[in-house]
C-alpha cells in the first residue's frame, strides 16, 4: 500500500539580483524540477545524487519544511501542501526527519533528555526517554549529557531517537551517515534497519553514496540536476543500470578490492549549475553514451519504462553502452 506519493514536485529558488539587489534578476535555481515517485508502506526508497542534484530539497519540501513551487505530496491520502497549520502539525507527528550533520542539528544548550522530551510535550505524548535511548543503543546515563559531550555516532543516535520519539510512520533520512567514520557508519545503518523492522517504518533514504544505499534500500531513484534520471528496484539498478549517469556513478565508486578490474567511466567536466541547466537532456554535455545524438541536445527525454518496473530518462536507455 502506498504511504507517500510525490507528484510532479517542483521547487525553484528565485534568482538573486546583482548590484545590491538593483541589477537584473538572475534566472531561478531549478533545484527540483518535476519529480514523481511513491513509497509503499514499510519500504525504503534510496534517493541518490551528487551535490546540487536537489535530493535534499525533495526531502525537505515533502515535509513542508520548505514551501513547494508546484506539485503534490500525498501522505496516507492527506494532501500535505493543502493542510492548514494545525492539521500540518498533527501530520508532522507521523512524518519525521533525521538530518545529516549531528553537530548542527542538536541544540547545544539542551541535554539529551530535554531534546527528546520537547517533541513529546509539543504533541502531548507520554513517551519514556530512557526507553528511547535504549532503543537507539545508548545507555540511560546519556540523558543528562550535552551534545558536545557526545561523539558523532552518539549524536546521530540522539537525532534518530528524537525523530522516533513521536512514533512516526515515515522518516526522511537525509544523509544520516555521511559525516560518520566507516566503522560507526555501519553501526548506524544497522540501527536504522533494526528500527525499521521493529517499528514498520517507511524511509526515504537520501545519500550521495550508492554503496551505502545498497545496504538499506528496496528501491533506488537517481537524481541529476533536479530531475529523476532513473528509478528501479535496488537489485535491478545495481545489476543493470540503464541511464549513462547511473552507470558512471556506479563505476566511479572506489571499490575496496585492489584486484577490481571493472571498466571505469570517468565523466568529463563538472555538474552544471541548476540555474543554467543544459537544453534537452540535462546530462548530455557529460554523457559518454556512444549513441548520443543531436536529439539529446534538443529533446528532454521523459522518464519511461524500459523493462517492467525499471524507469530511465534516456533516449538510448535500451541500447548497450
Amino acid at each position: 500500500m502506498t504511504l507517500v506519493d510525490v507528484r510532479d514536485l517542483v521547487k525553484h529558488y528565485a534568482g538573486t539580483r546583482s548590484w545590491f539587489g538593483l541589477g537584473p534578476a538572475q534566472p531561478p535555481v531549478r533545484a527540483v524540477d518535476g519529480v514523481s515517485f511513491s513509497i509503499a508502506s514499510g519500504r525504503t526508497l534510496g534517493l541518490v545524487g551528487e551535490s546540487g542534484s536537489g535530493k535534499t530539497t525533495v526531502g525537505r519540501t515533502m515535509l513542508r519544511l520548505q514551501e513547494p513551487t508546484a506539485g503534490k505530496v500525498l501522505f496516507a491520502e492527506h494532501d500535505v501542501f493543502a493542510l492548514d497549520a494545525a492539521r500540518l502539525r498533527a501530520l508532522r507527528r507521523r512524518m519525521q526527519i533525521v538530518f545529516q550533520d549531528p553537530y548542527s542539528s542538536l541544540n547545544p544548550r539542551m541535554t539529551v533528555e530535554e531534546t527528546l522530551r520537547e517533541p513529546l510535550q509539543i504533541h502531548g505524548l507520554h513517551g519514556q526517554v530512557s526507553a528511547l535511548l535504549d532503543e537507539v543503543g545508548l545507555d540511560a546515563a546519556f540523558a543528562k549529557r550535552y551534545p558536545h559531550e557526545l561523539s558523532g555516532g552518539q549524536r546521530q543516535r540522539v537525532g534518530i531517537a528524537r525523530a522516533l520519539s513521536v512514533e512516526p510512520q515515515f522518516v526522511v533520512c537525509d544523509e544520516p551517515v555521511s559525516a560518520l567514520d566507516v566503522s560507526v557508519q555501519a553501526q548506524v545503518l544497522n540501527l536504522l534497519a533494526d528500527l525499521q523492522a521493529r517499528r514498520r517504518l517507511t524511509y526515504l533514504f537520501i545519500a550521495h553514496d550508492l554503496a551505502v544505499v545498497r545496504h538499506i534500500a528496496d528501491d533506488v531513484a537517481v537524481m541529476y540536476l533536479g530531475k529523476l534520471v532513473e528509478r528501479a528496484p535496488a537489485a535491478e539498478i545495481y545489476a543493470q543500470p540503464r541511464h549513462p549517469y547511473t552507470r558512471a556513478l556506479l563505476s566511479a565508486i572506489p571499490e575496496p578490492n585492489p584486484r577490481a578490474t571493472k571498466r571505469r567511466i570517468v565523466l568529463a567536466g563538472d555538474i552544471p549549475s541548476p540555474a543554467h541547466p543544459p537544453s534537452g537532456c540535462p546530462f548530455h554535455p557529460r554523457c559518454p553514451h556512444p549513441s548520443k545524438s543531436e536529439r539529446c541536445r534538443t529533446e528532454p527525454p521523459p522518464l519511461r519504462e524500459i523493462t517492467p518496473g525499471h524507469l530511465a530518462a534516456c533516449h538510448y536507455a535500451a541500447e548497450p553502452m
Binding site: E50, S51, S151, G153, Q154, D181, V182, S183, V184, Q185, A186, Q187, L189, N190, A193, H208, D209, L210, A211, V212, R214, H215, I216, A234, A235, Y238, A248, L249, L250, S251, A252, I253, P254, E255, P256, N257, P258, R259, A260, R264, V266, L267, A268, D270, I271
Partner: protein, 341 residues
C-alpha cells in the same frame, strides 16, 4: 610497484618514532595524537595511510612538513623525519623552506579554504616558482598556464586570471594540485585529496594524480579514510589507529590477509556495491580520546579477540610474512584467532 622491503636502504623519506603531542586546554592532559609512528616512503611509490578520524594520520603529514602549530603542539625529541639523508626536524628555518613546497609539496582536503580568495589562481601557482626557482614574473606566469594545462583545466590562458570563487570544487582541487607540482617535487603529500568532492569528480582527480605521478616520477603519500581509494591507488598501505601504526603491507597482501583485528573490522564495515543487501559488520564502540588511550593494546576495548595479555602488554609491530607487519599479539599467537571465532 616497488619491490623493496621496508627498513632497507633507498628510502626517500624515513619517519622514525615520530611523536607529536598536543597540550589540551582546561588541563585535560596531553593528547598523544601521534605516538611512535615509523614508516618509509620509496621513490616513485604511492604509500597509503588509512585510518578513521582521530587516528593521527593528518597530524603525521603536518609533522613531516613541520606545519604543527607550536604551542599547543610539539614534536618530541627523539623523533626523526629524514628526507634524502637530512633530518627535517633539525633543519634551520631557511633550509626547511627550501625543501617545503619545493621538494616536498602537499595538497589539502579542503580546496576552498586552502586557496587565497584575493589572489588569482595564476598568482598562487606562480608564487612557488618565483620563490623556489627564481623565475621572473613573466616566466612564472607562463609556467602557471603550463601547469593548468597539465592538470586538465580547459582554457588555461583564460583561467589563469580567475579567482578561486569562480571555479568549481573539482577545478579548485586541480588548481591545488598545479600549485603543489609547480616545482616538480620528489614527494607529494595528498591529505584526503578527494574527500570534499562528488564521486564522479573524485574519479577525475584520482585519475589525474595517477597520471601525473607516472609522468613526473614522484612519490605520493596518500592519506585517506577510504579503503576503496587506497585499494585502487596505493602500492603499500600503512593502517593507523589511536596514534600508532597498527599494520603495514603491500596493498594486495593487506586486502587478502588483513592481520590486525582493526584492519579486518574496517574492511568488513565498508559498504560494497557488489555485495548483496545484508547487515554490515560494525566495530563496536568508538575511537578513544587521544588524552586517554587504553592501556596495553589500544584497540583492546573494541577487539573481538582480546585476552588478558592485551590488557597489560602493549603489542609490538611484529613481522608476519616479509613486508607485512602488524601490532598485535595474534601475529605471535595465531591460534587465538581461531579460538575466539
Amino acid at each position: 610497484m616497488t619491490t623493496e622491503t621496508p627498513g632497507g636502504g633507498g628510502a626517500l623519506l624515513r619517519v622514525r618514532d615520530l611523536k607529536t603531542y598536543f597540550v589540551t586546554e582546561h588541563g585535560k592532559g596531553t593528547a598523544r595524537a601521534v605516538d611512535e609512528v615509523s614508516f618509509d616512503l620509496y621513490p616513485g611509490e604511492t604509500l597509503g595511510i588509512v585510518g578513521e578520524s582521530g587516528c593521527g594520520k593528518t597530524v603525521t603529514s603536518l609533522s613531516i612538513l613541520r606545519l604543527i602549530p607550536e604551542p599547543p603542539g610539539h614534536i618530541l625529541p627523539g623523533s626523526l623525519i629524514e628526507f634524502e639523508g637530512r633530518n627535517l626536524l633539525a633543519l634551520p628555518a631557511p633550509e626547511l623552506r627550501a625543501v617545503r613546497g619545493n621538494q616536498i609539496a602537499m595538497i589539502f582536503q579542503e580546496p576552498m579554504t586552502s586557496l587565497n580568495p584575493v589572489f588569482t589562481v595564476g598568482d598562487q601557482i606562480a608564487e612557488a616558482a618565483i620563490i623556489h626557482q627564481h623565475l621572473s614574473r613573466g616566466a612564472a606566469r607562463a609556467r602557471a598556464i603550463e601547469m593548468l594545462q597539465l592538470v586538465g583545466i580547459p582554457d588555461p590562458g583564460e583561467r589563469v586570471d580567475h579567482y578561486p570563487h569562480q571555479l568549481s570544487g573539482g577545478m579548485r582541487q586541480r588548481v591545488m594540485i598545479a600549485m603543489a607540482l609547480v616545482c616538480h617535487p620528489k614527494v607529494l603529500i595528498a591529505d584526503e585529496p578527494t574527500t570534499a568532492l562528488d564521486v564522479t569528480i573524485q574519479a577525475q582527480i584520482l585519475e589525474l594524480l595517477g597520471r601525473l605521478q607516472k609522468e613526473l616520477g614522484m612519490a605520493v603519500l596518500l592519506i585517506t579514510h577510504d579503503l576503496g581509494v587506497v585499494a585502487g591507488h596505493a602500492d603499500r598501505v600503512v593502517v593507523m589507529y589511536a596514534g600508532r601504526v597498527v599494520e603495514t603491507a603491500q596493498t594486495d597482501e593487506l586486502f587478502d590477509h588483513p592481520t590486525h583485528p582493526y584492519t579486518e573490522g574496517l574492511l568488513a564495515a565498508v559498504p560494497r556495491i557488489d555485495a548483496p543487501r545484508a547487515r554490515l559488520h560494525a566495530i563496536p564502540g568508538q575511537v578513544p580520546a587521544a588524552t586517554a588511550w587504553p592501556t596495553g593494546c589500544r584497540f583492546r576495548p573494541r577487539c573481538p579477540y582480546a585476552w588478558d595479555k592485551c590488557l597489560t602488554e602493549p603489542p609490538l609491530l611484529e613481522t608476519g610474512t616479509p613486508g607485512h607487519t602488524a601490532r598485535c599479539w595474534l601475529v605471535t599467537e595465531p591460534a587465538r584467532r581461531q579460538a575466539s571465532r
